[in-house]
């Protein structure tokens, strides 16, 4: 009956989704007391196939979505993209994470996620030698068709992104702040450059982030490392202490079945024990940086 079609306008279009609303619904779940990565992921594990909007009242989802748009806009971000699990253009590889994200926000060229991506990560306080190694590695990867992916932190991350830019190749940043915030603040300009001509991805719930103080917000950094690992086919650790956040990514990489490379120089340090530990679990010790390419290109 024609009237029914008019009153149910989407009957002929099947189930439709509004990414904006889904983003708001996911933000609402994250705004709940006691929300953690595991608990939020559990909501979706116990409701397989559910979209965030199916777990949250529509008014709440709408309110949070508008709130996030306003928070972004107040912080100078007018436009951002949204990716929703099960709603198209969401990379299946992200599901390999232990607690996969349902919604991501991004600025830039999303198609870079379709390229072969490799994470180059490591210490924030990096030695001069570590910076040199990072640049050499990132140049090699970028010049051989890999998209250098990192976390836009100080130290190794910054050197990796800059090295890709130096050779005019694409780079992806998976950041531990919302798109409209930067950490460290001195990387704000680099972040803006990547957002314009490359790709910056954030899984950090915006409302929650701006509600909490910096101590609670430190938790987003290791969380995004697990996502970065899932997005990339390998993680390479250039330099890291025994307490570095990079080791979260190392664990995630092995758990997700990704290749994990550790530069030989890490093994030569007397003050740390993690390299041997990860080597026993399957990490690859890199004696010559060029070997990384051969191993990545193994059939």
């Amino acid at each position: 009956m024609p009237q029914e079609i008019l009153s149910l306008p989407n009957a002929f279009l099947g189930r439709t989704v509004s990414p904006f609303l889904e983003m708001g619904a996911y933000e609402a779940l994250w705004a709940e007391d006691g929300a953690t990565q595991k608990r939020v992921a559990d909501r979706f594990r116990t409701s397989p196939g559910a979209l965030p909007s199916e777990l949250v009242p529509t008014e709440d989802a709408t309110r949070y979505a508008k709130n996030v748009a306003k928070l972004h806009s107040d912080n100078g971000l007018a436009r951002f993209g949204v990716r929703v699990h099960q709603a198209g253009d969401y990379p299946a590889k992200l599901r390999d994470a232990r607690h996969p994200v349902e919604v991501l926000q991004y600025s830039g060229i999303w198609e870079l996620t379709e390229t072969r991506c490799v994470s180059v990560v490591g210490a924030r306080k990096v030695s001069a030698e570590g910076v040199r190694r990072t640049r050499k590695l990132a140049h090699l990867l970028a010049n051989n068709g890999f998209t250098v992916t990192s976390g836009l932190a100080a130290g190794v991350d910054t050197a990796a992104h800059q090295a890709a830019l130096e050779v005019g190749k694409p780079t992806i940043a998976v950041i531990g702040t919302p798109l409209s915030a930067s950490y460290p603040p001195e990387n704000a300009e680099l972040q803006q450059q990547l957002a314009l001509d490359h790709l910056v991805i954030s899984e950090v719930p915006v409302f929650r982030y701006f509600q909490q103080d910096w101590r609670a917000n430190r938790g987003w950094f290791p969380q995004r490392n697990a996502t970065m690992s899932a997005l990339t086919e390998a993680t390479i650790i250039v330099e890291a202490s025994d307490t570095s956040g990079s080791l979260i990514q190392a664990r995630a990489a092995l758990h997700q079945g990704r290749k994990l490379f550790i530069l030989n120089s890490c093994f030569e340090r007397a003050d740390i024990t993690w390299p041997e530990r990860f080597e026993k679990k399957g990490a690859i010790r890199v004696r010559r940086i060029e070997d990384v390419l051969d191993i990545l290109n193994e059939p």
Binding site: I5, P9, F12, A69, G88, W110, E111, L196
Partner: protein, 202 residues
Amino acid sequence: MSIPLRQVDDASRDDHYYLEEDDPVYYLREYTSHKGWSYGETNQLISNLKKSMDRAGSSDWVYKARAILRCAKELSAVAQADATWVPIPPSKAPSDPLYDDRLSQVLRKAFPQGDVRELVIQPVSIDASHTTGQSKPIPSQLAAGYSIDASLGPPKPAVVVFDDILTTGSHFKAMQLKLAQAFPSVEVYGLVIARRVFPDDE
């Protein structure tokens, strides 16, 4: 399970200059428009789909046919035929050697039993909006160049206007205008294979 259609909403409407808040426009995929960047599965699909008719018979022509099939398959997986499906008319008139009815082909392959009609036609060729460097026509100018094929009779109460890509939204708005003039009671929806995204405020 198929991927649901996404709706142009507050997060995406700014990419499409002419679209207004209540315009019900849906898309299957997104692709990024960026200088020097043409990588990506969707970019490839769209570029194959749009291969110009003067390439007919060339070695890469088979990709156009495959792209048409692929789009039809994706469309039939998400949408039902229970509406009148109207392709945006090709920019070239049917008599023009460059006349490309790829949108009609996609719809007929997606909904073999469905109500697919070239209800709106473009009797006189214009430069395709993706090849001309001149300023692009606004919706009312586009609509003025359209004609309704009255011989096809009135559409169902819901009409889905179909295009391969959504850029400014000018073609959807022109169709909406033309259809509303001819059939004031119908609801007009837009559906595209892919929506073009700007990475920044261009």
